[in-house]
């Protein structure tokens, strides 16, 4: 009935962004378990967790495609389509990097992590999970802001973005420590390459979470 009239009202992309952020969250837990399993020697379930992450990633991909595919050219929103797409891209990149990290491990899974680095890697993983946990809250609060336009709500969202930035900085510090330690280790070049690249990939998860936050900050600008 009166469909052209109704067609003016479309499902808000924020609904999709929220759903996508929840997938990222879900994926982060699986990622954390996979990493913990990898650190613990003789863990058999790493491959299972890796499959789980891949599965969640493809589900999130479907959500991403749905958001992109259901955004007509002349969509009017409180923010520009461009920013929504950029935000989505960064949030999706978080997932990709988690998947990449696990894939990278799987290429050389049997070697494990040297004992002296185990703790540092555990800290790094925890440090990149923190900003991911902020993301779903960020979307919810931002959506509320676009509903209310209140300065108070704007500050709430800005605070989350600020926290994100700090957490990324923390993760960066752990990444630095690990890399320094790796190069002071007695190990063959292949191991060093594998470990450095692993630390960088894990570290980039937090980078992309921060990028998503920055995109959200751009949406908030008046």
């Amino acid at each position: 009935m009166r469909v052209p009239f109704f067609k003016m009202f479309m499902t808000s992309p924020f609904e999709g962004l929220q759903e996508h952020a929840e997938k990222v969250m879900e994926c982060a837990w699986a990622f954390q378990q996979a990493m913990e399993c990898y650190f613990a020697a003789k863990c058999k379930t790493f491959e299972e967790f890796r499959q789980e992450v891949t599965r969640i990633e493809s589900q999130a991909d479907a959500i991403k495609r749905r958001i992109r595919g259901h955004m007509p050219k002349r969509t009017m929103m409180p923010i520009s389509n461009f920013l929504v797409f950029r935000y989505l891209k960064e949030q999706d990149e978080v997932l990709d990097r988690m998947e990449d990290s696990l894939d990278w491990i799987s290429y050389r899974a049997e070697s494990g992590i040297p004992q002296e680095l185990e703790k540092d890697f555990a800290l790094l993983v925890d440090a990149v999970i923190d900003p991911i946990e902020q993301l779903s809250g960020l979307v919810v609060e931002a959506r509320l802001y676009f509903k209310k336009f209140s300065e108070k709500q704007r500050v709430v969202v800005k605070n989350i973005i600020h926290t994100l930035r700090q957490q990324e900085h923390e993760a960066d510090k752990f990444e630095d420590i690990i890399k320094k330690k790796i190069f002071n280790m007695e190990a063959d070049a292949v191991t060093i390459f594998h470990l450095v690249r692993l630390a960088e990939t894990i570290g980039s998860i937090a980078d992309h979470a921060q990028n998503a936050g920055d995109m959200m900050r751009a949406m908030l600008s008046k």
Binding site: F6, M8, P78
Partner: protein, 408 residues
Amino acid sequence: MPQEYYVLIVGYVFGFYMAWNIGANDVANSMASAVGAKAITIRQAIFIAGILNIIGAACIGSHVTNTIRKGIVSTEVLTDPHLALIGALSALLAAALWVSFATWKSLPVSTTHSIVGAMIGFGIMAGGFSVINWTKLAAVILSWVISPVFSIVIAFLMFKLIVLTILSKKDSFAGALKLSPFFIGIAFFIVVLSFLFKTPLGKKLSIGTPVALVVAMILALIFGFAGKRLLKKLIKNKKSNGTEEIFRRIQIGTSCYVALAQGANDVANAIGPLAVIYFLVKTGNVGATVPVPLFLLLFGGIGIACGIGMAGHRVMETIGTKITTLTNTRGFSVDFAAATTVLVASKMGLPVSTTHAAVGGVLGVGLARGLEAVNFGIIYKIMLYWVLTVPAAAVTSMVIFKILQFLL
């Protein structure tokens, strides 16, 4: 003349069918934003709209109607009673069929413009192109552009005003309460003015424009401050969505008004041609205006209510699920813009449609960045159906006229 009584019975059927269609197709106009903003439930909306349409049609609907809606065709065509009978019948059926088709195909068309188009078709068949009042037709065409644009501007300004004065403030609830007399006041101002200028009952009171403005202003002031006191009592606990709660109450009021005015104005679309048939059969001739007996108005009102009751549910359900981002502040802006547009445009003598104004209102709030997502692209499609309505109804009317002429 038994044959003419058959015609009258057929006229009743067509008239009811047209009224039913008005109900089915136009219920969204009055209640869409209220249901979308969750101010009232679907059941409440259907019940309220049905009752208010009957009351509007029977109590404030015009007891004298122009035989030709909006004077678009010269009354010369009515001189031959036989031709007039066929004409009224075909116009009624053509308009009803087009609105039915539109409802089925989900096109937002104006019922008023459908009947205007059907009348043009009948006029051309009965008297040629010379009987058409081209200036009136130009006004119809002008209204396709003016009413949505005007509505867009008002909705845009209204929503921006709400954001600036209330939503963006630290304590938006206190701000909303403080400014509520203003918002209730201007809503009442428009409602009172529309009532005085637009509804047939108000026209009968025949109050001059300056007096009407003063009356509306005084009533707006009284109701504005009374409304604030009432709101204070009703909304005691200050919740986070207190602002929306305040606008929810105001919005229910404006929606009810639109339903009432809709019944009063649109009933003539179905009952006007039926009244012509009625008088042709009863008295044998008909002038430029005919008195409409109360039972016909009631008949039309019940027809509209039946349409709302039977098809309204589907419309409302779609609204309820689709327009989830329409909060009360947005809904109020849309309603206010639509009501103001209809008032101002009809005061200027333009035959505007509430449908067009409502669409404009939604886009206005969207442009003010008030909606999470609105598809602006669809507006071209909507415009196309607005333009199509008049010729489509005219052609249908011509075809039916020819068929009826052959039969009777």
